[in-house]
């Protein structure tokens, strides 16, 4: 029961998706469109699952005093503040008590976490949490400089939400990305050594392609490098790509088939 029904679902929907490809008729088209829409919708529910997992793991870290546990607070802080920003936005020009509100909410969450993890004195933390919660509610009610927006996406226009995006997400993101410039160098240093035939081929090909950017090389041998590198990219590259693509295609097809036929069940645990 626990495994048969899922397997049946896989079989039915897998086969349907295969058949619908051959049926141009409207009815099949539209079932197809429905199914595709559904996947996204389920995904969003799953995201809630994910957030929950993130929250639990962080709280756990704090409770069990795992190494680096204080940083878990940073994660949680970022999480809750961003969500809060995402659902609130300023009505007028002034923020009013908004920041106080944010702080009280954060304190509430903090206290809730404390109540969850504390050994003794849970009551005290719970009380504090309640206190902060009430005060935040009060601010929410009486301060009309800003408002909650559950209905419309105004939260995404919240200038603080934007600021977090532009000044926290983007810088870290692009810096992480730019780490590649360093790693590509260290990787080249470590790996491009003529240990054996394969390594040497790797090395030589890489050298040719990289040398083409060196202005002094073009003094010596004109655009020979440029031509060779583009030949490399056009001919052997094309061939290898095609071979790999065909292989991957087959692998995917075979795996998909095994999944549909219930031969490969690793994804359900029962390997």
């Amino acid at each position: 029961m626990k495994f048969q029904i899922p397997r049946l679902l896989v079989l039915i929907f897998g086969l349907f998706m295969i058949f619908q490809y051959f049926v141009p008729h409207e009815s099949s088209e539209w079932i197809y469109e429905f199914l595709l829409d559904w996947i996204y919708i389920i995904g969003i529910f799953a995201l809630a699952l994910g957030i929950w997992s993130l929250y639990r793991v962080s709280v756990d870290k704090i409770r069990t005093r795992k190494p680096n546990w204080p940083y878990a607070y940073v994660t949680l802080l970022g999480l809750f503040t961003m969500i809060l920003f995402g659902f609130t936005s300023r009505s007028g020009d002034s923020w009013g008590w908004y920041f106080v509100f944010v702080i009280t909410v954060m304190l509430t969450m903090g206290m809730i976490i404390q109540t969850m993890i504390t050994k003794g004195s849970a009551g005290l933390y719970a009380g504090l949490a309640g206190l902060f919660f009430v005060s935040s509610i009060l601010i929410g009610i009486f301060d009309d400089a800003w408002a909650f927006h559950f209905m419309t996406a105004e939260g995404l226009q919240n200038s603080l939400f934007r600021a977090f995006f532009d000044y926290i997400l983007i810088p870290i993101l692009s810096t992480m990305f730019s780490l590649l410039a360093f790693f590509i160098a260290s990787a080249a240093y470590r790996a491009f050594r003529a240990r054996n035939v394969l390594a040497s081929l790797l090395l030589i090909a890489a050298l040719i392609v990289m040398l083409r950017f060196n202005p002094y090389v073009s003094y010596i041998c004109g655009d020979f490098m440029a031509r060779t590198s583009s030949w490399l990219m056009n001919v052997p590259n094309l061939a290898a790509q095609r071979a790999i693509v065909i292989g991957i295609g087959l692998g995917i097809v075979a795996t998909a088939l095994k999944v549909i036929l219930g031969i490969e069940r690793g994804y359900m645990g029962r390997g």
Partner: protein, 305 residues
Amino acid sequence: MADLGIIVSLVIIFGGLVALFVRSIQAREVDRRIIFLFIFIAVAAPILFPFTFSETATEVVKGVFDKIESLPEGSKVLISFDFDPAMAPEVQPMANAISRHSLEKGHKIIFMSLWATGQALLTHSLANYILPGFPEKQDGIDYVNIGYKAGNEGVLNVIITDFRKMFPTDVNSVLLDSIEVFNGVNSAKDVDLVIAIGGGKPGPKEWVLFIGDPGNIPIGFGVAAVVAPQLYPYYPAQVIGILGGVKGAAEYESELQKTHPRFRDMDTPGLRMMGPQTLAHVVILSFIVIGNVVFFRSRRREKKA
């Protein structure tokens, strides 16, 4: 000041590399942090103290340059901006360089775009990068912007027989017949040179297939580095030259500065971008060399031992 700075940093970089090379002969590995440091300096220095390696144009780039150089004054050049903001950083420099060059040589330029997003970029770059250098040039007499028309390759298919059928007017809805640039230009066949700048689809390839080959009109490419390899096979039979990525732009700009004193002090984004690129590449290459030296030396030691 800037020169001093760059000299110092170059000394640091190459001195360091030599030192590491010496160490490597004693088969001593380099700590990756040192590699990171070198990369950082190699990229940061040229940004801090802008300096440019003098590029020499490779044949492929020179093909375009010489063509524009050799065309008689007043010949018709069609430049197509087939790219979007995402691709712009890479191809904008060459677009500017080529346009300026043609204006300088007194050619009559027809600007157009096969990409909906291209028209805005085109108008913007005309206003901000290309024209400011040439106050004397007038719209309609020295250049004209006929903008974007939907239809991808279809557009090309039509203008090879008749411009006016596809572009009755320019962007300011002036009839083409009343535009001096279009005197004697009925179809793309009457253009002396086509420059296709882009890298997507429709792009350079389409220009060759639908305009260059059927009308045997000389065509030059300015393309993103990624697609350059796929276009090399067209050179030199079907294409007079190709500018590939920042590198191509840099080469063109340096060539421009060599031959035209007027451009000595123009902004050269391509060359500026090449500074860090070149240095970083040199550093990486030398580290590969060092790595191999280390490898072979240590292997010999093992053999001895």
